[in-house]
Symmetry: C2
Subunit: 428 residues, 2 copies
């Protein structure tokens, strides 16, 4: 996955994949003009001085090759072109900080605004951004991150092993609490609402908080261990703030938000209000990223939401059940653990088809146990029961961290052995 090499010179910088039938430099210079001082044409007020001070600069162009047909429809050909050839390139643009100020939404508009519709381009995708230090003053990021999440959950030196309440929708608060009781007795560290389960008429958030925290608080009192439950507070801002306050008051330790449904300004405002870690679900992410020549890559995306204040970020999982490649999942997760402006630690969240079978590969790819590892069928569907499911995942991670081959470890650990024979490549 292509990344920017930061220059830390105070400018805002963005790396793009572009595809065009035009001269690449001319097309990219038009893009730079459109996203800074210019418009499609030269206009009276755009003096050379103003252009020098506020114009975006094309810093580099690396032509990757050509393709015979356009990746996206709608682009226009250079005049008189009969047999177009489409050049693909990676280009870096930069802007003076002064154009934008320390504003995440203006940054988003500048690096990911109208440019996707510019007619010379048959492909345009934002891959990475460099955000200058003044942003750190206004956006301090998540208040909890890795250390805070570990402290609240009491889990050190290994991933938090978690699961998701299923069915996605349809349980009452009492049914949810009853399932939570089963899950925490089985040893889970982390449980979350489904992204579809917010404050719905059949399962009001306030009632769910009361019912679930009743179970968790009683368990914590008895055992000294308080599993983390991420309550999905996604909604309008007043609802999200009230939801957060209810979770905090009930002794809860995490809230969850669907980042793309809420948006950057909503997440930022909620994070400023919050006194709990925020679990960031990326439902809808496919819309932004799945066309390879359009949209935004995860490396750029996660920077916006880390600054906005998210503490846990979904990254899909190795051998997942969606369309994403392992290479892309691993690059996303590693990027979450890469410091941003010297900080902004965030827990990558592995989810979708995860079981004991992917633990070693995940640890090897990530080079760290700082993550949430969420399993559905890989725990709930374990042939020896849910507790054995949790045990199998813990054992798989323990083997991975100690560098013990999984098969060898399984020989002495029956829950792990059963998981490995049950979920060959990955779970359901």
């Amino acid at each position: 996955m292509a990344r920017l090499i930061p220059r830390a010179d105070g400018r805002i910088r963005a790396l793009y994949f572009v595809e065009t039938a035009h001269d690449v430099r001319k097309a990219v210079e038009m893009m730079a003009g459109e996203q800074s001082s210019g418009t499609f044409v030269k206009i009276p007020g755009e003096t050379p001085e103003l252009q020098a001070r506020h114009g975006a600069q094309v810093e580099s162009i690396e032509v990757l090759g050509t393709v015979p047909s356009p990746s996206l429809p709608g682009s226009r050909l250079p005049k008189g072109t009969a047999q177009p050839v489409y050049s693909q390139a990676e280009v870096v643009l930069s802007w003076p900080f002064e154009n934008i100020g320390a504003s995440l939404s203006t940054l988003w508009t500048t690096v990911a605004g109208n440019l996707f519709e510019l007619s010379p381009f048959s492909g345009l995708r934002l891959l990475d951004i460099e955000i200058p230090t003044p942003f750190a003053g206004r956006y301090p990021g998540g208040k909890f991150g890795v250390a805070g999440t570990r402290e609240l959950s009491g889990v050190q030196d290994r991933p938090l092993i978690g699961t998701i309440i299923k069915p996605s929708v349809g349980f009452s608060p009492e049914q949810t609490a009853a399932l939570v009781s089963t899950l925490i007795e089985a040893g889970l560290d982390f449980i979350k609402d489904d992204e579809l389960q917010t404050d719905s008429p059949h399962n009001r958030l306030s009632e769910r908080v009361d019912a679930v925290m009743g179970v968790i608080n009683a368990y914590a009192e008895r055992t000294g261990r308080k599993p983390m439950y991420a309550f999905n507070v996604t909604g309008d801002l007043d609802e999200m703030k009230r939801g957060h306050d209810a979770v905090l008051a009930a002794g809860g330790t995490c809230i969850m938000v669907n980042m793309l449904a809420v948006g950057l300004a909503g997440v930022t405002e909620l994070a400023r209000h919050a006194g709990l870690p925020i679990h960031g679900h990326r439902a809808g992410w496919g819309m932004v990223t799945r066309a390879p020549a359009l949209g935004m890559g995860y490396i750029a995306f996660q920077k916006f939401f880390r600054l906005a204040g998210i503490d846990h970020l979904h990254v899909n999982g190795i051998r997942n059940k969606f369309c994403e490649s392992d290479e892309s999942v691993v690059a996303s997760a590693r990027e979450c653990l890469t410091p941003l402006l010297g900080g902004y630690t965030v827990m990558p969240v592995f989810s979708s088809g995860q079981t004991a079978a992917q633990a070693a590969d995940t640890y090897q790819a990530l080079g760290s146990a700082d993550c949430l590892y969420l399993c559905g069928g890989g725990i709930i569907g374990h042939p020896m029961g849910i507790a054995a499911g949790v045990e199998s995942v813990r054992e798989a991670w323990s083997a991975a961290i100690q560098g013990i081959p999984l098969a060898q470890h399984a020989a002495a650990h029956p829950a792990l052995a059963a998981a490995l024979s049950g979920f060959a490549g990955g779970g359901a």
Copy 2:
């Protein structure tokens, strides 16, 4: 453009384009399960009763045809498929209102969440949604719409003729105000900030409001006519609210927001706070819509933001300078004027390369003069000056509304004649 036929039976409904190498019905039923009570596999809590009550229903499947290769990468083939054929179809899914409640962000998550990444699909695009009436209680929509905008601007029976401050970025508040003075003296009804110009260090919003409203208020006192200026308040929520308050206090009549950079929750909260019309800019829209087999169509998109409280919605323009077809622009604009839940009137905003030359086609396609018609070079670049530019556009619309052929009208109106010979197909 495909649209849903509303049933008004209280269910939430969504129309999708899908493409899959699997049996279409099986694939779409999996999609319905994943977005409601189910997950990838049958799970213990998903009883037949729960499924009947909360499961999404596949209401219709219309197969459009087949294609030999996938529109998007990453989809999985049915087991044992050597020569896949990809079926394309339009399908309608519906959900009980109870799953979601009257929550725009939960609605977004449900109809536009994880489904874009489901592995059977090599294409998936949301085309339209039916929103049931309980949403109207929580989301009353824009407070001004067509009637409020006309009242505040004093413009009746024709479009508001407008322009955008250019250069996009780089002017000081004083330079902006000086240009505004020229533009309103030339007769413009509406002026807006560029989407890139928010509260930047070289042009603070509060200073721009004071400088621009000084000019506009003086003009209004002198002439009795107060042109509308849309100040771009895009930012964090506290900044947007402060920005709105400053505009209101200074006698301004409109604020603008970059909808996708701010997001649904932020726009909703700002709209609840606002006492002015909100001009909705769609910068970044290309990212969501430009891949034909992915993302969201405008008919669905605009419903979310109309409910959230937007009063003016950008729709691009006929013979625009971007990648969008006229057919798509016209369908978007017509949809903005189609009542939603019996109301939610919103002004479609035509912009990008507009001149006197497109007025007749725009009026004919829209069947209404209820719109904002924004010209850049088409007014500023008029050979006889800016006032003649404004005059040419007003004359073109006057001819269109009266049903007079443009060439005939131009014969007696020199500003229009000059515009038509200067901007043959459309302007810059």
